[in-house]
């Protein structure tokens, strides 16, 4: 099998046994980027020289007889919304083109401390606003299973990089489904951890109360390894959950007999593509055959999640994105006649259409006279949505539904209708509103395109998600299929 399609845990064994070197592995990934990225558009910045330096450092450790940690030497791609000291971080936006952070995000410090090899910064919808990676300020990314189709978004570049063998694992960020939905569309594993499980320090904010960083990988075991690496309390993030995290690999290889699975009717009916429904139905049969108890459940406020989300997320975004003003970093329009002119023209030219649309919507929702009707109302509906999940988890260990209502759609298909685009997050968004964890795992194919199954759990029950996901993965081989490129 090709090096680039192996998993981190397999590669770790080979590196430790000196069957391959980290440099060799790194070059394989860089070659793959070189060869394919013109078509796929997964990377905004490739950090080849830095990656080779990091790989050689790992090789020296191996040569000196050191026992390397599980992810040392593993090529990782990082969504370009996570700050990397000395390496451009654009958030997929022209307003930050050329911006080089003087500091690194906590997750970057963590993965580098474990010897991971960063091959580049991945393409995304501008400021993580989008579901197709078509809203990138630079170029759209393409789905490796069908390059006429979108890879999903906003972490499209990260999902593509893993699916196409340009990196072994990747980091994405998920505010309304931005890890799970592209993972689903690209046939890889993607997890949004519980809000507060992973530090947000250095993650450029879209909607602060919803954003989380999470892993994208080829299989569930790799997902557990990356989660081990990035999660943990961070004193630099006031919303970081205190206390230690478990060793998530401890949840792998466990039985799921007697596990109670709820299937929310609202996420299996109207609006869900029949082919997708069929794949998820088949996956539930597999889980049932493994001894899981499956029952339908209702999350009655589900249909309110999209409007609540778009009011809350855009309100926060309108404030979070105010700092891009041309004063001390980023793009500044030429020859501004005064400060107000500089602000307005810098922001109008620097931001893309979707970002401006969301800033406008969020500003409106917070403005005098509308705060109670829109923003406050949405926060109250958020409470109702959270309560739906609380009630469901009184009875069920996990909930399962599609990670996306459709398979990858064609490029351009939803670009002119923002509301239709927003509806493609219908099954993922409530998870962010409730702050709970969710994972998408490859569950089969519909029309030759991957379908992801989303497993949702109680806050900080990432272990249970991995347990169920891994049990499913052991009984299926969807994760072993790769796109022909």
């Amino acid at each position: 099998m090709e090096l680039v399609y192996m998993t981190a845990h397999e590669l770790h064994r080979m590196l430790s046994a000196r069957e391959i070197s980290a440099e060799e592995l790194c070059r394989a990934a860089l070659d793959r980027i070189e060869k394919l990225d013109g078509r796929l558009g997964a990377f905004i910045t490739v950090t080849g020289d830095l990656a080779l330096d990091q790989a050689r450092a790992v090789d020296r450790r191996i040569a000196s007889g050191e026992e390397i940690p599980p992810l040392a030497g593993i090529p990782v791609a990082v969504k370009d919304v996570i700050c990397t000291e000395g390496i451009p971080t654009t958030c997929g936006s022209r307003i930050l083109s050329g911006f080089v952070p003087p500091y690194s995000a906590t997750v970057i410090e963590k993965i580098l401390a474990r010897g991971m090899v960063m091959v580049g910064k991945t393409n995304m919808d501008e400021f993580a606003m989008g579901s197709s990676t078509e809203n990138s300020g630079f170029f759209p990314a393409s789905n490796p299973w069908d390059t006429d189709r979108v890879p999903g978004g906003s972490s499209g570049g990260s999902a593509v990089a893993v699916a196409a063998g340009q990196a072994v694992v990747a980091l994405g960020s998920d505010t309304g489904g931005s890890i799970r939905q592209p993972a689903s569309m690209c046939g890889v594993v993607g997890m949004k951890p519980t809000y507060g499980a992973v530090s947000r320090y250095g993650l450029v904010a879209y909607a602060s109360s919803l954003d989380q960083i999470g892993p994208i990988s080829r299989d569930v075991a790799d997902c557990a390894l990356v989660l081990n690496a990035i999660s943990g309390h961070d004193p630099l993030d006031s919303t970081s959950a205190p206390g230690d995290r478990p060793d998530y690999t401890g949840f792998l290889n466990r039985e799921i007999k007697g596990i109670k699975i709820g299937v929310p009717g609202e996420y299996m009916g109207e609006g869900i593509d029949p082919g997708v429904r069929e794949v998820i139905g088949g996956a539930l049969k597999v889980l049932s055959s493994l001894g899981a108890e499956i029952e339908e459940v209702s999350l009655p406020h589900s249909k309110y999640a999209i409007p609540a989300y778009y009011l809350i997320a855009t309100a926060e975004a309108s404030s979070n994105l105010a700092r891009y003003d041309g004063v001390s970093y980023g793009y500044r329009v030429e020859d501004p006649k005064d400060v107000v002119d500089m602000y307005s023209r810098t922001r109008s030219r620097g931001f893309g259409t979707e970002v401006k649309r969301r800033i406008m919507l969020g500003t409106y929702a917070l403005s005098a006279g509308y705060y109670d009707a829109y923003y406050l109302k949405a926060l109250k509906v958020r409470t109702l949505i959270k309560q739906d999940f609380d009630r469901a988890f009184e009875k069920f260990d996990v909930l399962i539904c599609p990670a996306s209502p459709t398979t990858a759609f064609r490029k351009g298909e939803k670009m002119d209708d923002p509301l239709q685009m927003y509806l493609s997050d219908i099954t993922t968004i409530s998870v962010n509103l409730a702050g709970i964890p969710g994972i998408s795992v490859p569950a089969g194919f519909s029309g030759g395109l991957p379908v992801g199954m989303q497993i949702m759990g109680r806050p900080f029950a990432e272990g249970t998600l991995l347990q169920v996901a891994h049990a499913f993965e052991r009984s299926t081989d969807h994760h072993k299929k790769f796109p022909e490129l």
Binding site: Y201, L236, S238, S318, A322, V327, V340, Y375
Partner: protein
């Protein structure tokens, strides 16, 4: 009686003297090179997050308690959204609907009466950076931004509209400054910007309870400026109302040089701050026991101290309020009394020559060169008859100039009082011989003539003769 009643409310910002900023570990030290006391957080770089400095909460609670406020059990931070180049995130982290402290008051002395001024709220927020405008006066051609002050912790103290005159406004601000200085959480230096004051002022027909249209006055950088600006505004608004016009609700800036307030014609940017809870910060649940500990640890405040001075030292109430109005001055006063028991004498010197010289040189007591032990050393020399009161004034000025010990000054300048009976008598004889007519006047009952003769003796001895002895000897000689 005036036809209009003045209604004033003050909004005061005070910088808290923590070592680091409110949401990041950068230094708050004043006067660093531009943009050197900064980190990614206070620069508002993409991706950074605030973490709240616990010391700020402790200090703000101290302020709230010292102002007799109720401290909230639950409080939170909100974002106040507006664009300005000194605000790197283009929002200020502040507190909106759940401030830390509310419903307080302080007392001011006005025309010998105590008046209570309500405090609406005390809340915490971050300071903005500094802008330096470049170019010709009037319209700057560009501006320079320094983020060193960005994120320095502030408390904003909002008064009720209980203030009725510019004098009361000044008294309120002076009292507020004194109280906060006593709590030790701020230097309250208006000239360095660690105490800043804006005022809302309106007029209404005497006897009405409806508030008139207010203006907001900014840029008053001293107590005197506050009083002058408000006085100007009272006159300006009175004139408008007298002429049957209407006051325009607006923000006006005080022009110190011209002595007028000017409209800040804001290119209307629609003030809509779009406050909402800051999702990067978690709520504050304030422990009652901690609040009580802070309350128990509050130092003696100006009103308490003043009462103690009157009772314990027997100094006049007026003197006590002047001395206690500045914590540094009151501390100085008490240090003097550590080695010297005549409080009245100390009070007289502090109120008199010391205050006069401090004012004349525009320095505050903290930088005064006369140490308390030197002042009392001088008083002891007076008490012991080594120097006269007149010489003491000279010695005092010299101490003020040079910081030398009084003993050294007296020695160096040969200012020891002449108390030698024979020496004084011989000078007296010389003076009497030179002024026979004046001597005769005194003999014939003109008491006034004595003053002249004593003066001549003092002059001849360059002020060093013991004045009591001079008096006595002249009387003896002319009996």
């Amino acid at each position: 009686m005036a036809r209009y009643e003045t209604v004033i409310g003050l909004e005061v910002h005070v910088e808290l003297k923590t070592g680091t900023k409110i949401f990041c570990p950068s230094s708050t030290a004043f006067g660093g090179d531009p943009n050197t006391h900064v980190c990614p957080v206070c620069l508002g770089l993409p991706g950074v997050l605030p973490v709240f400095n616990k010391k700020v909460l402790e200090y703000a609670i101290r302020v709230g308690l010292a102002l007799n406020c109720k401290i909230a059990g639950f409080s939170k931070f909100d974002r106040k959204n507006y664009y300005y180049p000194d605000l790197p995130k283009n929002y200020q982290i502040s507190q909106y609907d759940l401030p830390l402290a509310e419903h307080g008051h302080l007392n001011i002395d006005i025309d010998g009466q105590v008046k209570r001024i309500g405090i609406t709220r005390v809340h915490m927020e971050e300071d903005a950076g500094k802008l330096v405008h470049q170019g010709s006066t009037g319209v700057a051609s560009y501006s320079l931004v320094d983020y060193n002050r960005t994120g320095v912790p502030l408390v904003e103290i909002v008064s009720e509209p209980d203030i009725r005159s510019p004098e009361e406004a000044r008294a309120y601000l002076e009292k507020l400054k004194a109280i906060i200085q006593y709590t030790g959480v701020s230097d309250c230096k208006m000239e360095e910007g660690s105490l800043r004051c804006d005022a809302n002022i309106s007029l209404r027909p005497a006897g009405s309870d409806k508030l008139g249209t207010k203006t907001e006055i900014k840029n008053m950088n001293s107590f005197k400026a506050l009083q002058r600006a408000l006085q100007y505004e009272v006159e300006r608004q009175t004139e408008i109302l007298e002429e049957g016009g209407q006051v325009v609700q607006e923000t006006r800036t005080w022009d110190e040089a011209r002595g007028v307030t000017l409209s800040m014609r804001s290119k209307e940017q629609a003030h809509d701050y779009r406050y909402f809870p800051d999702p990067d910060l978690v709520p504050l649940v304030i422990d009652r026991r901690w609040v009580e500990e802070i309350r128990a640890g509050l130092p003696e405040l100006p009103d308490q101290r003043k009462a103690r001075y009157v009772k314990e030292y027997g100094i006049p109430e007026y003197d006590a309020s002047v001395i206690t109005a500045s914590k540094d001055l009151a501390d100085y006063f008490e240090q003097c009394l550590e080695g010297y028991s005549n409080a009245k004498a100390v009070s007289n010197w502090v109120m008199g020559d010391l205050s006069r010289l401090l004012n004349a040189h525009d320095i505050d007591i903290a930088r005064c060169r006369i140490r308390p032990a030197q002042l009392t050393g001088m008083l002891k020399m007076m008490d012991g008859g080594t120097i006269s009161g007149k010489i003491a004034k000279m010695v005092f000025e010299e101490m003020f100039e040079t910081g030398k010990d009084p003993e050294q000054i007296v020695k160096e300048k040969g200012l020891v009082q002449i108390s030698d009976e024979g020496a004084i008598a011989s000078v007296v004889d010389e003076v009497l011989a030179a002024n026979p007519k004046v001597a005769d006047d005194f003999r014939s009952g003109k008491e006034k003539a004595l003053g002249f003769l004593v003066g001549q003796v003092m002059k001849a001895t360059r002020g060093k003769a013991n004045p009591e002895m001079v008096n006595r000897i002249i009387r003896e000689r002319l009996r």
